[in-house]
């Protein structure tokens, strides 16, 4: 186009001279074109949902004029049957919201809102300078911390871990908030987590859904449960809350929160007393069964179990009888029931119940919790080695579940402690989602430099010095696996990245390039691959071989393929425990300070001054701080509420729809009360969610109480999210 | 209900215009009791008010410029019928302007036709709202209330006009008192019918009773009833000033009442 200079037609204009001197000329954003784009030119590509969700759906995206027109599920995946969930259907709204973070920006004073747009080059330079400065002062990169978790499970998003590894030894937020106690339990019992293919639940005769709410959190499995039910299986839900899952089941049993272990042991005792257990299986496949059976005989009675759980003896008896008689019977162990100070012990008791009744290794059976076996990926974006001569010796781990407190401790000025000077936040909104929100703010204040990579402006971005705009899955490549079903999806870009957004691997490559320009050899992250090459590198040869594929291109034909061999987990009887057998008695468990047997551990005591339990399960229209902020979702729901049983409400003088204050010793929230008969009379339920432009954040009420297990498999104990106690008053 | 203020304006003003015209039919065309100036002025008033009503109703539409399409469903829609009847009414009222100076049959025919279409309009308006999805409205009270609005405002309007034209006063105090009394009775009826109806009707009844506007209207009714009743036997009160006061009181009362009507309707 050429720049416009001072033109004849504007002779005598004083301003033009000044304007021409500023920036680029007229027409420089455009180029000449001859074509006029034809409407209706559409193509379909495979995408995949990277959210932290059981269902990890393969998506078919219809693209026209370079823009997303509509999305549906991928029919090639039998797990989803070509359907998405309510959250998935909002993606077009998500990608094209004008409120996305669009450009790298820096803030003059955290929380001031004084943002300046900068180029990626400037952003990389800022980060690189800070890294070099820290390295110079401390001799290592340990004062640099990464706090990343489950905002996206695209395996290429692990490029952010790779970024930090490629600059040296750093500090990492280690662990996972939501499921580690159960992972440890299954690690002690089976050797690791492996669940039967959820699609095999269709073969089950009896399904115990224990502390899970698939109607809201795994809707495609809910459909499988429904089909199993229509096939004649009996579906029983054990939960403190009468969830939508319970509502669609044959039977619902309200259990007193945090006493699940007692119910499992009571059922096992009944089965043992009535000789319904599978002695052959135990002899052949397990160790420590005699000690376990002795424990049942000597320590457990049904009356005791009934007293603990609040479930009548005859119901426990019937449940045990039905469970033992149905062949096969499966248990779905949810994540809700292990978010307690005795949650890991409870999962061990349930595992033991499944094992002693002969339901492990059986098609349509199992004690199904989660799995990572289908993650046949190379983590090539993540696995990076530090530059030669890096100081610090090894990465330093701090507990993700108590991150702010640990940061404050390191930054307390103690000369023996290496402080945290720089924080990189990715795939998380810790200020809104971590417990003890007020402590989070203090921890951020104690850190010199905070970089946050996100798609949305949230509380954490507001407390950052630098924000990096991240592309959505529709704008980049990806490889996605589930921690529940066995499908592996490929994700190809549907559209060009909007604005200046980049995915984590592109950021890693950009930073690496900059750092090596400034100080050669200071970063090991490779910079010479395309995103497609990175995606191709993620898919393991094992996976390709098992599917008879020669390259990732074969996977692009269907978008998804299933890892086979898991119809019945542990069917081969080869367990990954030290003994190679199922371990009723686990020395490893004992070595982590727990009882070697799956014994009952008392629930956390209810404080007298805060007698009402607060349950904060996942919300159906969102996933942590995602989705509920979109205008489409707001059109069906946009106000937080607390569910309260009418009897409790009456005692507190709270009418349906009243504004109430829920409070405890660390904070409070104010919201509307909703009467419902579906919650216990001694608890209230608030669903955790992020509502845009609203103050509500339930984490003001949640204390960072650790669960009993988690440190074996994930490095850190989980969080006892459901051992929280509050008071409630009408406002 | 949303956007109801335009509907309040339309229904009350159209009923006022129709009531006024029917009054002309009786007092002017049939009985010849009005001076040409009064009947002319009143007829102009009727036309102007009618047109204002139509303009107000257009604001209720998403696409006011396509209002003509509203004529298309005469076969089924009471709204179409209302539009057509009222349009005809206004045309006749305009014709009446030209024939009002003449005497005899032609004037009577025009006035009679106008009266007929006026009544048809009020009937159609009422039928629009007499629908099962609005239980509290779905009975004869809607029609009664709309008709009475026309009946009470029309003569008072003409009397008020006659005040301005310095015409001789025509006493309607018995009639007016009776109609206001009837309005009070109908309002009691509306509330009691609602309370005896479905959940939604009960909710409507409750909303009416708790609406401050309703109670203001009630006070205005009682006041107007007392003044009008007093004027039956007190000839000092038989004058156009009193009629004007009554007209203003009842016009305000009907506006408030109609606001309450729309605001309290509870949908199924």
């Amino acid at each position: 186009m050429g720049k416009f200079s001072r033109r004849d037609f504007l002779k005598g204009s004083a301003a033009l001279g000044a304007l021409v001197g500023v920036g680029t000329g007229v027409g420089s954003s455009f180029k000449k074109t001859k074509k006029v784009s034809a409407a209706g030119n559409t193509k379909q590509v495979f995408s995949a949902c990277p959210r932290n969700c059981y269902d990890t759906c393969s998506i078919v995206t219809t693209v026209g004029d370079g823009t997303i027109k509509f999305i549906t599920g991928n029919k090639n995946c039998t797990y989803t049957n070509g359907r998405l969930c309510v959250k998935g259907y909002t993606y077009p709204n998500y990608v094209y919201s004008p409120d996305r973070v669009k450009y790298p920006m820096k803030q003059e004073g955290r929380g001031t809102g004084k943002w300046t747009r900068i180029t990626w080059d400037e952003a990389f330079e800022m980060i690189a300078n800070k890294i070099f400065e820290i390295k110079k002062e401390y001799g290592s990169t340990l004062p640099i911390a990464l706090n990343k978790y489950s905002g996206t499970f695209n395996t290429l998003s692990y490029g952010i871990e790779g970024t930090l590894s490629s600059i040296g030894y750093t500090t990492r937020a280690q662990g996972t908030p939501c499921w580690p106690a159960g992972i440890d339990s299954q690690t002690f019992d089976f050797g690791t987590i492996v669940n039967s293919d959820p699609e095999a639940m269709i073969h089950s005769k009896y399904i115990l859904v224990w502390g899970a709410n698939p109607a809201w959190n795994s809707v495609h499995s809910m459909n499988i449960l429904q089909k199993a039910k229509e096939n004649g299986a009996k579906v029983v839900v054990i939960d403190p809350i009468l969830t939508d899952t319970a509502a669609n089941a044959d039977e619902y049993i309200e259990i007193k929160t945090s006493t699940d272990g007692a119910l499992a042991l009571g059922m096992a005792k009944y089965i043992l007393d009535h000789n319904l257990h599978d002695m052959d299986w135990m002899r052949k496949n397990s160790v420590g069964y005699q000690e376990y059976l002795n424990y049942l005989n000597n320590n457990i009675t049904l009356e005791w179990a009934s007293e603990k759980t609040g479930i009548p003896v005859e119901v426990i008896e019937r449940l045990a009888r039905e469970y033992a008689a149905a062949k096969p019977a499966c248990i779905w162990i949810g994540y809700g029931m292990q978010r307690h100070t005795n949650g890991g012990a409870a999962v061990r008791s349930i595992d033991a119940l499944a094992a002693m009744s002969g339901n492990v290794g059986v098609l349509g059976g199992g004690a199904n919790y989660a799995q990572l076996d289908s993650w046949l990926v190379n983590y090539s974006a993540m696995a990076m080695s530090p530059p030669e001569g890096s100081g610090g010796g090894a990465d330093r781990m701090i507990n993700i579940n108590n991150f702010p407190a640990q940061v404050l401790d390191l930054n307390s000025g103690d000369p023996n402690k290496i402080p945290i000077k720089m924080l990189w936040v990715a795939g998380r909104n810790p200020i809104a989602q971590d417990p003890e929100t007020s402590v989070s703010y203090k921890a951020f204040d104690s850190i010199d430099f905070v970089v946050t990579a996100d798609l949305w402006f949230n509380e954490t971005v507001a407390q950052s010095d630098l924000v990096l705009p991240i592309s959505s899955i529709f704008e980049t490549w990806g490889v996605h696996a589930s921690y529940w079903h066995y499908w592996l999806h490929i994700n190809e870009p549907a559209i060009d990245p909007l604005y200046e957004t980049k995915c984590d691997v592109e950021i890693a490559m950009g930073l690496s390039k900059k750092m090596n320009e400034m100080e050669p050899g200071s970063c090991t992250y490779p910079t010479d691959r395309t995103m497609e090459e990175w995606a191709a590198m993620e898919i393991s040869q094992d996976f390709l071989n098992s599917k008879g594929m020669t390259s990732y291109k074969d996977l692009l034909k269907t978008g998804t393929a299933k890892v086979e061999g898991y119809d019945a987990a542990w069917a081969d009887g080869v367990f990954r425990t030290p003994s190679g057998k199922y371990e009723f008695l686990s020395e490893k468990c004992a070595s982590f300070g727990h009882h070697a047997l799956p014994v009952y551990v008392e629930a956390k005591e209810v404080p007298t001054d805060r007698p009402i339990r607060l349950l904060t399960p996942h919300w159906k229209y969102g996933l942590h701080s995602q989705f509920q902020n979109l205008s489409w979702m707001q059109s069906v729901h946009n106000e937080p509420f607390v569910e309260i049983h009418p009897e409790l409400a009456q005692k507190k003088g709270i009418a349906d729809g009243d504004m109430v204050k829920v409070h405890n010793h660390i904070g409070f929230v104010e919201l509307r009360a909703k009467h419902t008969l579906t919650v216990p009379k001694d608890a209230v339920v608030i669903y955790e969610a992020w509502y845009k432009d609203q103050k509500f954040n339930v984490n003001y009420l949640v204390e960072a109480t650790p669960a009993d297990m988690g440190s074996c498999a994930t490095g850190q104990a989980g969080l006892a999210f459901h051992d929280q106690f509050v008071n409630i008053d009408k406002l | 209900m949303e956007h109801s203020f335009t509907l309040v304006l339309f229904t009350v003003l159209s009923q006022l215009a129709i009531g006024g015209f029917i009054t002309l039919f009786f007092l002017d065309a049939l009985k010849g009791k009005l001076s040409p100036k009064t009947s002319q002025t009143a007829a102009v008033g009727v036309v102007v008010i009618g047109i204002v009503a139509v303009l107000a109703s257009l604001f209720h539409l998403g696409h006011p410029f396509h209002a003509a399409k509203a004529l298309l469903n005469f076969g089924h829609s009471w709204l179409s019928r209302e539009v057509i009847f009222f349009a005809i009414f206004i045309v006749i009222a305009i014709i009446y302007l030209f024939v009002s100076k003449t005497e005899g049959g032609r004037k009577k025919i025009v006035a009679g036709l106008g009266t007929l279409f006026g009544i048809l309009t009020v009937y159609s308006t009422a039928m629009i709202y007499t629908i099962p999805s609005m239980p509290a409205w779905n009975n004869g009270t809607t029609l009664l209330a709309f008709m009475l609005t026309a009946c009470v405002l029309g003569p008072l309007f003409v009397q008020t006009i006659s005040g301005f034209t310095k015409d001789t006063f025509i006493d309607c105090s018995r009639y007016t008192t009776t109609i206001i009394g009837a309005l009070i009775v109908v309002n009691l009826l509306i509330i009691s019918v609602a309370h005896g109806g479905s959940d939604e009707a009960v909710a409507t009844g409750l909303a009416i009773c708790t609406s401050p506007l309703f109670w203001i209207k009630a006070v205005l009714y009682v006041l107007a009833f007392l003044i009008s009743g007093r004027s039956i036997c007190n000839s000092n009160l038989k004058n156009t000033n009193i009629a004007t006061i009554l007209f203003v009181l009842m016009l305000v009362a009907e506006f408030l009442g109609r606001i309450v009507f729309y605001a309290t309707g509870v949908h199924l």
Binding site: Y89, N223 | L71
Partner: protein, 188 residues
């Protein structure tokens, strides 16, 4: 075409009140945020047997005697031979009478187009043998669009307590009521 009579069958046994139908429909038809063509409502917890969460998902009920068609002054609504109550937006002048007249409050006012909007039963998809968006999107397969002339309706009901009486306009939507769930609740 003439012998078909399309209508919805909603399995409340399957519906979990997730609103996937509402959002996918909104996405496909690019509806204004303030309006929806489907409505998911919570119904009485004690609808069947002991208390539990119950939902109902409905759209336009494509009534036999549509109140909207009777109320509409422009004749924008037509009951087609195939059972669909069609709203012709070109005719609509946005008077909102249909919204008042519909016992289910189905037609909604689109504040941008300034016209009414409602479910068309995805007629253009049905005509080419495809499923409606809601039917194809429901992760629980709770929504079916069927030819009511050809479908066994034993065990289905036309009314749900808390949802409006179908007698007024002869709604054609049928429901499979949820089974009662046996519940064991704690005594406190």
């Amino acid at each position: 075409m003439a012998n078909q009579k399309y209508g919805f069958i909603i399995s409340m046994e399957r519906c979990i009140g997730c609103n996937a139908c509402t959002i996918s429909c909104k996405s496909y038809y690019n509806l204004n945020p303030s309006i929806n063509r489907r409505f998911v409502r919570e119904v009485e917890e004690t609808l069947v047997g002991e208390a539990k969460r119950c939902h109902i998902s409905t759209a336009c009920n494509h009534c036999e005697e549509p109140g909207c068609a009777k109320a509409c002054p422009t004749g924008a609504y037509t009951k087609l031979d195939n059972g669909i109550v069609k709203h012709n937006q070109d005719r609509c002048i946005g008077c909102k009478m249909c919204a008042t007249a519909c016992p289910y409050g189905v037609p909604q006012f689109d504040p941008v187009k300034k016209k009414m909007d409602k479910c068309s039963l995805c007629v253009e998809l049905l005509e080419v043998g495809e499923e409606t968006i809601c039917m194809a999107s429901c992760p629980m397969e709770a929504i079916q669009v069927v030819d009511l002339n050809e479908t066994e309706t034993i065990g289905l009901v036309d009314r749900v307590n808390g949802f409006v009486n179908p007698d007024i306009t002869k709604s054609t939507t049928l429901f499979k009521l949820p089974d009662a769930t046996h519940t064991v609740r704690r005594d406190l």
